[in-house]
Symmetry: D2
Subunit: 347 residues, 4 copies
Amino acid sequence: MIKAGIIGATGYSGGELVRLLGLHPAAKVQAATSRSYIGKTYNEVFANFNRYEELYLQEENIETMANECDVIFVALPHGIASERVTASILKHTRIIDFGPDFRISDASVYEKWYGIRHCARELLPQAVYGLSEIYRDKIRGARLVANPGCYTTCGIIALYPLIKEGVIDAGSIIIDAKSGVSGAGRGLDLGVHYDEANENVKAYKVGSHRHTPELEEQLSLAAGRDVILSFTPHMVPMNRGILLTAYANLAGKYTYELVYEIFNQYYKDEFFIRMTKKDVSPETKWVKASNFCDIGFTIDDRTGRIIVIGALDNLVKGAAGQAVQNMNIMFGLEEKAGLDMAPVFPA
Amino acid sequence: MIKAGIIGATGYSGGELVRLLGLHPAAKVQAATSRSYIGKTYNEVFANFNRYEELYLQEENIETMANECDVIFVALPHGIASERVTASILKHTRIIDFGPDFRISDASVYEKWYGIRHCARELLPQAVYGLSEIYRDKIRGARLVANPGCYTTCGIIALYPLIKEGVIDAGSIIIDAKSGVSGAGRGLDLGVHYDEANENVKAYKVGSHRHTPELEEQLSLAAGRDVILSFTPHMVPMNRGILLTAYANLAGKYTYELVYEIFNQYYKDEFFIRMTKKDVSPETKWVKASNFCDIGFTIDDRTGRIIVIGALDNLVKGAAGQAVQNMNIMFGLEEKAGLDMAPVFPA
Amino acid sequence: MIKAGIIGATGYSGGELVRLLGLHPAAKVQAATSRSYIGKTYNEVFANFNRYEELYLQEENIETMANECDVIFVALPHGIASERVTASILKHTRIIDFGPDFRISDASVYEKWYGIRHCARELLPQAVYGLSEIYRDKIRGARLVANPGCYTTCGIIALYPLIKEGVIDAGSIIIDAKSGVSGAGRGLDLGVHYDEANENVKAYKVGSHRHTPELEEQLSLAAGRDVILSFTPHMVPMNRGILLTAYANLAGKYTYELVYEIFNQYYKDEFFIRMTKKDVSPETKWVKASNFCDIGFTIDDRTGRIIVIGALDNLVKGAAGQAVQNMNIMFGLEEKAGLDMAPVFPA
Amino acid sequence: MIKAGIIGATGYSGGELVRLLGLHPAAKVQAATSRSYIGKTYNEVFANFNRYEELYLQEENIETMANECDVIFVALPHGIASERVTASILKHTRIIDFGPDFRISDASVYEKWYGIRHCARELLPQAVYGLSEIYRDKIRGARLVANPGCYTTCGIIALYPLIKEGVIDAGSIIIDAKSGVSGAGRGLDLGVHYDEANENVKAYKVGSHRHTPELEEQLSLAAGRDVILSFTPHMVPMNRGILLTAYANLAGKYTYELVYEIFNQYYKDEFFIRMTKKDVSPETKWVKASNFCDIGFTIDDRTGRIIVIGALDNLVKGAAGQAVQNMNIMFGLEEKAGLDMAPVFPA
């Protein structure tokens, strides 16, 4: 049984991680920490876990946890995880970081977008970007996995094969994404006060969202050249789910069937990536509470563009689910262990 | 492996049943029927099941299905199931009926509330009311189980111990319930058109909802006398969940602790019934997508009343989940097989 | 032009008051205060008011405002308004208080439910309870009007004629109410964080909500005897609206038509109270953004009870709209001035 | 008093038109027709209108109505309005058509996108496109106004000055729009069944939505060249509102201030177009139930693109409100008559 520790367990993605580990045949939560709820039991914080998680929330001590746990999931704000994780910690345990500190290989890019100094530059070379389907081989041997952002996961899955195969002009990418409110976390803020977010749609951080450099780095690697793209996130009034609509100019003449075949080459054996049929557009409701990412696309001959649409659950494939998937890869388990469930609908 | 058939598989409770059976270690869907989608695969109807249920939806033929399946779940409108199920069918298979036809032991009461003739009166004596926690022993040997209504399940669990132990005046019961919209099913109707149901609360079928006689029969059995009660259902703008608030006059002087102890006698070993702590009120979000029913109560000394609040997921403990629980009991499986999962939050 | 001041203008009911006064032919906002947004313009706080309210939010100074304004609307937490309002203030201006400080005539009852000392007991005798339809005559000459609570307004309108005419047993009243989330205000709190309130129903303050003594005082006055009742508020996932379901034992044999006639005697000339037709149940969507209160009822011969259902917009008839209605009465204006608009649907 | 007729009055935009005309100082509904509710009163269809619209819904007879009414608002499906409206009708009354039949000047383009023959080609030359702010002068003298689509209105307002002034490369436009569900109308359909639309986001009609040719014609006129663009509508779970995010390559080096100045030239005197301040993004909640269209934009130097965001209420500025605005222009009334109200928030 893999013993898992969770640092920052009382956010929404922490809660989802606890739920998924509870369903896992070969892993269990050994210890969990929280800044706000030290000494409480987990089900005092999240009453859905009554009958399940009676573990006490501890004060954070990553050294102790590293000795007790085979893997630690870290869900802390940017800039904190990189203070906690050290080479010494990584000798004792493996880390799957939900935050951005180890996602961007170039610390100066990180520092520009996040506005703080990166304090663990020396660990960046060994950090593996945890987009499971793309970096599976590297994840297998990794001790430090940077779990991708929710938008980023969806965007990369939607565009990676197209860029890799030169189907699209990498300079023309525009990503317009719509997220449920849980993406903003459980912290109180007027923007996610019920009456402010309900019955409302808005864009936010236009041109400046921090998932942008992460998208650009990964898609640049795929393209073999620098990719600069537009990314606009929106908040829509629902709890969970991301729908991402990506636009790009086709680099040549492509039929639907040809592009489908290209996607198929990359994803036909990927359990968690489901291509929709022609003229069927992904919807967030079909992936709720699951680790699936649904992908569909349209070839628009009028404009010479392709429109690719992806849907995932931001708390699962966009966070805790992919983290478990990465854990499974790291520990040589079946990749879908604990994640092999149909989405919940309607929910 | 128990082979399960589903008649009427393409409603919301049918979809939830398919999801739960997909998680079950000892049962699987052998065949499923639908009136509207004959010949389609299940995931064409419910795209969440891509990668899972590729079974073809058949035309209904209960005789054939009875030969192939160990158990048939019937999800048909009132008046139809009792036409289909016969003594002969029951020789070949077991039936768990989601509808009301076999819930009320007195056919004349059924006929009064449903306004139609009951056409299988001869089967009523062998039908067992499938409130798992109360009729477990009878369910074990049953071939025909009448799965309770969603509101009814919540109401009975909330009040049964109080009535049985004489804590409340059985003549004073008022039940005010609030349900998510999925309780109204997947059939098109202006009342459940998005813009009509969203941002709205309404009561419906005031004084005339058909779960009333079902509540009254069961609570009368508990009371050992005829119980007449008020029941008002409301529709609230959310997908899933029932919150039920029951009011009754206390039959004497009772402290919170004493009543808690009475509930405890009945429910302390019931996995799926979770009593909340004092001053903690059940909320539907804590039971979502699970088979739990949360119960809390308040003793109001000012008015001499008790207010009992119950919460469950109408599609799970209120329908498909309790059906699986009943199947487990009927087949001698562990009662929580396929149902042992923490609720999903936020969802 | 009536010059209106608003103390505590940046909550949801303050915003609604500003909107309604903006539509008023004979009143305008002269000054507004806020604790959190001093120095900002009103449309920086509520961007819907761009093109309209460019007034600066001032620091609170009730004396100055009393000199400048013909009427002051006070929207402060309980215990504060009674500190601010004095006999001297009332010489210079009129007060319409949104809070509870002057709603309950017996200070000891107030003190018991609110847990604080009442610091303006001497003003209680001159305070008029602002349920416009019932206290119109007293409101006309009042200098201090206690605007009723949102639940209370709905409950009193629903039950007043029945109690007054002895139709119901005043000892048997149970009120089960469902409110949209804006009733909880704009202050940050985990309970009204989007993902906590969305897709959820809960009861709160069971047996202890502070609108209870207000309901009891008013209904006692109607009954001519002490009324003790059960009141349970619930929060449902929508922005606005209250649906209130009241249960009571009929004091005799009453037909629907007879009770309808009784309601009609009280309300047939009341513009803002709309009786629904037989078998039509009020819904919150039909009163949205309006000052209407819709009332319907069912006579349940089986149980000998009447079920009365009321619907109103908690921010309008439950707060700012009734306040404007009271202002109109106090200043001898047409009672529906500024309020004569059809509800907005769908919204 | 302008006498208005409404053909097809019982959809959501019909309801909103009735509401707005009810607030209008110089117009009133003279007659209204419906296919589904002939003989009913309007408030039987929309109960929010109790106390207001007691008019009977008639069978459609445009000739009779043309004789009785100064203006007829037509809200019929595409292909029907062009069958009804004739030169003879236009001699007796003016027409404001909510549908698409007269929006596209080239009948062959209309026929390609709508898949039917246009049966009133001879009227196209006199039809005026009813984007009030742009075609005010032509609308003034028009007898046949084609009220623009909801998405189109938002898209044109967002982009018109930029195209007209050569700020953007007209070949690079991508429009990603998000609409509340009321945009789909009141007709029953599984896609707008509550549980299907709630807690879900989806794109629809990708690359094929019929507002595309309308956007392209208008923007081509502004550009003085043919504009081909990508337009993707999405449905988000809320009742009302459109948020539209438009992307385009800047044709040169532009600062925020310079572009703001360009918008200002076009819109500074437009009451219903509100430019947001720098770094403030429009949100649908700030325009709810009003005729405003809020516009904000971001210059993204990294990508050389501009992102323009527009928000409007699809039933008001996107339908009934702009229709009233056009009526005001046609009849020489103050343009904001009946429309001069702050948006409702929260709603």
